[in-house]
């Protein structure tokens, strides 16, 4: 394989392949990891991979196509919002579990 790195970089294929690898890694992590916070992070990795694919494929030898980049920016915003929300839920769940643990000895039902 003789493709020089600059060509790969300028045509964005490297980014796209990296993105694909990230997606695969993230998916694997999501499936195998149990803790919800790790799963959230894995999902973020998948998202990052998808954004890389999007951005990378927009890169041409002459000029960069801004259209996929616009999609990526929007996507990042959405991902941040969802990650924040997910993290908040995980924290709340941990809090309720911690509050329920000492009371478990008293046979009280933990909050759902």
């Amino acid at each position: 394989m003789d493709l020089p790195l600059p060509v790969l970089l300028s045509t964005g294929h490297l980014y796209a392949v990296t993105g694909a690898a990230l997606v695969g890694l993230g998916l694997y992590a999501f499936i195998t990891l149990r803790h919800p916070l790790r799963q959230l992070l894995a999902v973020n990795v998948v998202g990052a991979g998808i954004f890389l694919i999007l951005g990378g494929l927009g890169r041409g030898p002459d000029a960069t196509d801004p259209f996929p980049q616009a999609l990526v920016i929007t996507g990042i915003v959405v991902a941040v919002a969802l990650t924040a929300f997910g993290a908040a839920m995980i924290v709340r769940q941990a809090q309720t579990r911690a509050a329920a643990k000492p009371a478990a000895d008293d046979n009280e039902n933990p909050a759902p």
């Binding site: 998808i50 959405v78 929300f85």
Partner: protein, 490 residues
């Protein structure tokens, strides 16, 4: 001003207002419900070529909002459902006293879902659809979290995976065709590997959102603990967006790509969903999971219609049946969840066996439940029957006797579990003898208005068949294409 952008802007405005107003934000629904209903009605009555380019940016970069038949009917049903659910939640005391903050966040979430749903039904831009999908999912997960945090987290993770699969599909589409507009894709799509992969990914993600068997696992737990208005919105609205996007993909954007085998896979999954959901519903001994599994079954009908629409040169009947089924289900399921919520509040437990004496104590609520059940079973006169009639006729005409059989058996199975619940209401109060006073009326008649109105609409829909069929055919992908005339710049 076009109702098309108002339909998205107004709920967002209400959401901002609700966030700012805090506790008194709940009164906004009194303004929002009639306003949105009026807008939706205006939309439904617009001339057939109504469309709107957001920001006047032209395709292929711009976002087109298009009021086709499916959009009009779905948005109208959404307005009615969310309006009724909102008014009901306004009148109803909070389920867990002391959770004032929770009651506060209910309203911005409702408006967020409203905005996302309206936008999702109108837009033809695949990436915009991703954003709307996330808006709706976010709201749905948050609403589900008001019941059970664990179930909501599970829903969240699964939904997120689905969204990402969809996004990956969109990314591949961009890479291949350099556009994400459904109408443009319809003109250029070809059946090559990239397209098939993209379609497959998007479909997988959307099927998770639409809770089609076997990706339905998140739905029953999320419903079981959530408060009734939240369940109503989840079943009625959140699930439908995924379905509508799939319709756009399969019958419009990638219509040239989808073959009969793939359509039958979807149809088969739909049939399996009908049977599986019904059987599971029959096995439930608690009311809310029963209704939740009923949703799983009803979603199956929507996908069972896919091969019926594609399998004929004159799909207006099957298309109308599919659309009307979605609308009727929205109305009936929301009514049923609201009624079930009222009924469960009045009894000691949440089991079906505990429902005794309710037919006497809460006649209006039980009537609402019964009317909703009639539509879900597909018995006349109701919207559910009209939809089933159209689908069954289409199936028989196409010789698709397997699907016809499933349609028929599904109705019977639904009758089994729904009449079981209704029977329980007619039974006397458990533990009471014939002389002890029955349960006194526990809820004022006013609270039964919302479910009764929605259920009544589901029934009345059955009489408006012709008008609804005509609306559903507006700008349908199989109809003679009209030239889209977006609004001129003001």
């Amino acid at each position: 001003m076009s109702p098309l952008d108002l339909l998205m802007a107004a709920p967002l405005g209400f959401m901002a207002a609700a966030l700012m107003l805090g506790p008194s934000g709940r009164w906004l629904i009194l303004l929002a419900a009639p306003l949105m209903a009026g807008l939706a009605l205006w939309l439904a009555l617009l001339p057939p070529d109504a469309a709107y380019l957001v920001g006047q940016w032209d395709l292929p970069l711009g976002i087109l909002l298009r009021a086709d038949g499916v959009a009009r009917l779905m948005i109208l049903a959404t307005a009615l459902v969310i309006g009724a659910v909102g008014l009901h939640a306004l009148a109803e005391p909070p389920e867990k006293p002391g959770h004032a903050a929770q009651a506060e966040t209910f309203w911005p979430l409702v408006y967020l879902m409203w905005a996302g749903a309206n936008a999702g039904f109108l837009t033809t831009d695949l990436f915009n659809l991703y954003v709307t999908l996330e808006m709706v999912s976010l709201a749905a997960v948050a609403l589900a979290a008001m019941g059970s945090l664990a179930a909501a987290l599970r829903y969240f993770m699964i939904a997120l995976l689905g969204s990402l699969a969809y996004l990956l599909g969109v990314a591949l589409t961009v890479a291949r065709y350099d556009t994400v507009d459904v109408i443009l894709l319809a003109q250029v799509a070809e059946a090559d590997l990239a397209t098939l992969l993209a379609l497959g990914l998007m479909t997988a993600g959307l099927l998770i959102k639409a809770a089609l068997f076997p990706m339905h696992g998140w739905l029953p737990p999320a419903h079981a603990a959530a408060p009734a208005p939240a369940s109503a919105l989840l079943s009625a609205i959140a699930v439908k967006l995924g379905f509508v996007i799939l319709v756009r993909l399969w019958f419009e954007a990638f219509a040239a790509v989808t073959g009969p085998a793939a359509l039958h896979v979807l149809g088969g999954l739909g049939a399996a969903a009908v049977i599986y959901g019904s059987i599971q519903a029959m096995r439930q001994d608690r009311l809310k999971p029963l209704v939740a599994y009923s949703t799983v079954a009803q979603v199956g009908y929507l996908f069972l219609a896919f091969p019926l629409v594609a399998g004929t040169v004159e799909p207006s009947g099957a298309w109308a049946g599919m659309t009307l089924h979605g609308v009727a289900h929205m109305l009936a399921k929301a009514a049923m969840f609201l009624a079930a919520g009222l009924m469960l509040k009045a009894v000691a437990g949440d089991r079906i066996a505990d429902l005794g004496g309710l037919a006497q104590a809460m006649p209006l609520t039980v009537t609402a439940f019964g009317l909703a059940a009639v539509s879900l079973m597909g018995l006349p006169p109701s919207g559910g029957f009209t939809a089933k009639f159209l689908l069954l006729s289409a199936a028989i005409e196409q010789g698709a006797f397997l699907y016809a059989g499933v349609l028929v058996i599904g109705g019977l199975l639904a009758a089994v579990y729904l009449f079981r619940a209704l029977s329980a209401c007619f039974a006397p109060l458990a533990g009471a003898g014939p002389d002890t006073a029955s349960r006194g009326p526990v809820t004022g008649g006013v609270q039964a208005v919302a479910p009764l109105a929605l259920a009544g609409l589901a029934i009345v829909m059955g009489f408006a068949g012709t008008a609804l069929v005509d609306v559903s055919a507006i700008e349908a992908p199989w109809a003679t294409p009209t030239v889209i005339q977006p609004e001129a710049a003001p």
